[in-house]
Amino acid sequence: MTTPTAPDAMYRNDEGLGIWEHRGKVAAVGVGHAPTARRWDGRPETCVGAITIDALRKAIADAGVAPDQIDGLVVVPVTTTGAFWEAGKSLPMDVIQSFNQTDDPLDGIAKLSAEWLLANMPELTNVQFTMYGPGCMSNALNVTAQAVGDGLTHTCLVVKSWHNFEGRYYQGGANAGNALPGTPAITQLWGGPASYSTALQFAEYCRKYGKHHDMMAPFMENSRRNGLRFPEGYWAQHRPEELGPEDYLASRWIAKPANLFDNDIPIMMSGAYLFSTAERAQDMQQKPVYILNHASSNTRPRSLVPTLDEVEADTARTGRKIYEGAGITAEDLSFENMYDGFSLFHQFHLEGLGYRGIKFGEALDFYQTDISIDGPNPVSPSGGNVGSGRSRVWMHTDCIQQLQGRAGARQVTGVKPEVGVSGGPMPLGGNYTVWSASPD
């Protein structure tokens, strides 16, 4: 079996597509997360393949589905946080030999194929449909929702995992060398860190609207607080530390105005869900959460970094696509879980959605009001990557758990959880899902 990459036609990129044809007919039921770690410790049982199997098995058990009922698997094949297996470094044969292998010895260690997973999960005897949704869980969710809706699979697992190795983030490879090839040199010679482009967009935003980086502090505090109530997350599991304004504002700059905490922490993690048709979901162990729409943006900036104008045009367009396909308006959102890793662009997503009626330039003021899970305007109840480490998965898990009423200490209390939205990553480009407690 060769696993294809999802065709572009599976994503809903355009405005004017109308209500999603499978609105309310696809449901998420099971959730599974493997324990997180800061870095891989080199053991077979903690490699990215092993934690993926763990997350998948938990999602299956959570849904209460027999493994032989599962007929689909959607995988994000790229697992790197920016850490790569260095060329010439000897292969960890003990780890490789602990699993059934594919033709790439680093499969399950520094990448993930559907074939590797199926070879190491013998209980999945009836998987007929496999597909890659490259990039993030957000992509893979769009693909899974569309695949189930289109009838390509009726009970489908979807998984995203991350590996993180020893060594400093992005400091190896070309960045350590004395020369660069001509094409990457045009963008990389100047040495901007990963958060640089977002920092620039934020700087332009602050100049245009008269805002300041200090105004991020309540958002950061709220996100970490929510993250500490996310038992599946990195900070809750390993470093249960609040992030008050003093700690946040005193932290060192990475690319000013982005500081250390504005950059999410790379971790080992795996998160998985079990999707099915709304009909089949009725007989499963958890309350179904219905997909009202999925929407995407493939917009690219004109040149090196997106301008604020480009960002605002695209987030507004994304908001319209999200609402149009779901047949809802901003007023229908109980909460939002848009992406936050980097924290300095969460406000772009909020403003594009018009969440609680906020307009361009107003989100940082909104952060100064009650944005907690107990108030009427919850912002990022998942806590996102700020609250639980880099995964781009927490926001989706939280939407499902909130709408199932099993978000535990994170459960929103100031609003009735009926409809949520999640997705990202960057304001320009991204993939989004609208979730609902009811199919209509």
Partner: protein, 137 residues
């Protein structure tokens, strides 16, 4: 600041050759009359890939925006931390951007909107690299 050297590849050879002659050239699509940077094998706006050439530009621009890099992933630049990293918009087409360390401008004291002109600095292997300096007016 000592930038990494450059080993021009097929796509970018004309850009780097021109830089060594202290000229700034930018990819231009003849069919849709539009500059594009970073360069690419095809025009991003023409469905049929367009018709790309390298066009010499004025070498004038404005500082559009900047950040201050305190934690740089590139080893050679780390000794110069913190440093300015600005984005220049070209006067020839203000949608087209180039990076600059703004040599001579104090860290985090960047005159956003100021006029700049291109200059060329040697990188680690001698390849000249376009940089930008603030000019009056």
């Amino acid at each position: 600041m000592a930038k990494q050297g450059v080993e021009p590849d097929e796509l970018t050879q004309p850009f780097w050759d021109a830089a060594n002659e202290q000229r700034l050239v930018i990819q231009n699509c003849v069919d849709c009359d539009r500059l594009q940077h970073p360069p690419s094998a095809t025009c991003r706006d023409c469905d049929d890939g367009g018709n790309l050439e390298w066009k010499q530009v004025s070498g004038r621009g404005r500082i559009y925006n900047y950040g201050v890099v305190h934690d740089c992933p590139v080893r050679l630049l780390q000794e110069d931390q913190p440093f300015n990293l600005a984005v220049i918009m070209l006067d020839d087409d203000p949608g087209v951007q180039m990076y600059s360390h703004l040599p001579g401008v104090p860290v985090d004291d960047v005159p956003v909107g100021a006029a700049v002109e291109v200059m060329f600095e040697p990188s680690a292997n001698g390849q000249l690299v376009p940089e930008w300096r603030v000019i009056d007016g």
